[in-house]
Assembly symmetry: C2
Homo-oligomer: 304 residues x 2
């Protein structure tokens, strides 16, 4: 690793989360190169003080810290070790910060492949949404060696309001993230079941929202997602497809571990039904619309 | 109804909720007679300023306001209109405050039977637990006519921190309560699934609690019940049997309304499995112990 006063950073994946994270890193004064398959995203990053990468390998070239914010383990693997070849292009002794939600097993595998190239790896799934990414206030559920954390520190601090250091090896961060996603997915499905059932019972939905958010039936997801239903606004803040993916990983893990996950399995089927009903790209609160379509109840229409 | 400056109250059912409610009413200065099938509960009430009833009819005799806090609709019906005969014994024009969790249909039926005797009826399911009952800070999800609310007011105010007035007829309060119970039951089952899965993944459970309660996966129930699991303390604050009952009512309602309730149906099966596993009288967080028993993972043991 080239010894410098300030490390060079690179980030691959400038989607709704990645662009905010990239800008937060650049804003902290770290020299940062960014790349995405969509050129407009790169342009947006350049307007915010970043450097434009031409492809994944060139972006990672001379980087001491490489952040990967793509959709899943397969894309992360391809960018790092496939034709993308980003890992090979990094400075020796550099650190990879891997942010995609993936199974702990995949995280361990990618960390091992990184170690084989003399690179460090922080298993660093993120949460908090696009607005917290933009303000550098993400929550990161991270694990990795002490050395990996030490090298990643300036970039982790630039991106996150809270960095949980959850263990000394890859896989632990991803395990925490999957437990969180299990609950988040089940709670969205439950919130949508409850609000549509309330409608079926003839209740006034804004009053249901007010009473439940002050009662023992409340969840972070009920409080956050049900306003989308009340406003009839299904523009994706987070899409149905995220949860068919994440609950899919969780169900795969349960099958592999021989661990029954009844609630997660049922929730997955409700997200799959919603995707089947044509709403895979819509907001994840669309589970309520799927139930409404199925049962013939009428939910609030968009005021837009 | 006898016109008095201050109405007379009676309360039937001095269990973990009822005793606190009874004491709160007496403490407010209202003359209150209480009855329970367990004499020790009546004695406790007398020590706290209440009057002892000998049976349900004698307890309700000369009452302007009668609070019923028994287990379900069948018990409420029996106390009021069966051999118990409490409704007949009340002062003419009096009001019944019915607090048991029941289906909206049952609430409507009991309200009609009350009206047939010239009595008013507030459909008034409660939430908040024994400690809030004792401090007069319950939440009541209430519905009924304006006249019923007017007559019930002194006692409602004595028992509750918040009285939601949700509609002008019986059934609406119970509908809100069932929506809340749907979410509460699903969230307990999900919390227990998540914490046992976290253990299977080898995670440190107190850290899981800390991270999840600060994340999007949080729920009121996760935050409230998982400490019981972490402490290995399954003394019933609220028992498994409450949710086999309440989710049972919800599933019956869904079948009757032809409304699919996938999450609730799955959660009900998990509570039934826990009851089948010998824990019907234990704390509802025992769903986690059922999963642990099934899968062979080890949860924290009681320190007691």
């Amino acid at each position: 690793m080239t010894e410098r006063t300030s490390p060079h950073a690179a980030i691959i994946g400038l989607g709704s989360m990645g662009i905010g994270m990239a800008c937060s890193i650049a804003k902290s004064g770290i020299r940062t190169t960014g790349y995405d398959v969509i050129p407009a995203s790169i342009n947006k990053f350049v307007e915010n003080g970043g450097l434009a990468g031409n492809n994944t390998a060139q972006t990672a070239n001379d980087a001491d810290i490489l952040v990967i914010v793509v959709v899943n383990a397969a894309q992360t693997d391809e960018v790092l070790f496939g034709a993308g070849g980003a890992a090979q292009a990094m400075n020796s002794g550099g650190v990879i910060i891997s942010c995609a939600t993936m199974s702990p097993e995949d995280a361990c595998r990618l960390a091992q492949k990184s170690a084989d190239l003399g690179l460090h790896y922080v298993d660093a799934p993120i949460s908090g949404g696009a607005s917290k990414a933009a303000s550098g206030q993400l929550t990161i559920m991270a694990s990795g060696t002490e050395e990996a954390f030490k090298r990643a520190r300036p970039v982790l601090d630039a991106m996150a309001g809270t960095v949980y250091e959850l263990g000394d090896r890859a896989g632990i961060g991803s395990s925490f993230k999957m437990v969180n996603q299990l609950l988040a997915g089940v709670h969205i499905a439950a919130a949508c079941e409850a609000i549509t059932f309330a409608k079926k019972l003839g209740l006034d939905l804004p009053t249901v929202y007010k009473v439940i958010t002050a009662s023992a039936g409340n969840s972070w997801m009920f409080e956050n997602r049900i306003p989308h239903v009340l406003e009839g606004d299904y523009e994706p803040r987070s899409a149905i497809g995220i949860f068919t993916k994440d609950l899919g990983i969780i169900n795969d893990m349960g099958r592999k571990e021989k661990f029954p996950l009844n609630m997660s399995a049922t929730a997955l089927q409700m997200f799959i039904a919603t995707a089947a009903n044509g709403m895979e790209q819509d907001d994840d609160s669309s589970v309520a619309r799927m139930i409404a379509n199925l049962t013939g109840i009428e939910l609030p229409a968009s005021k837009g």
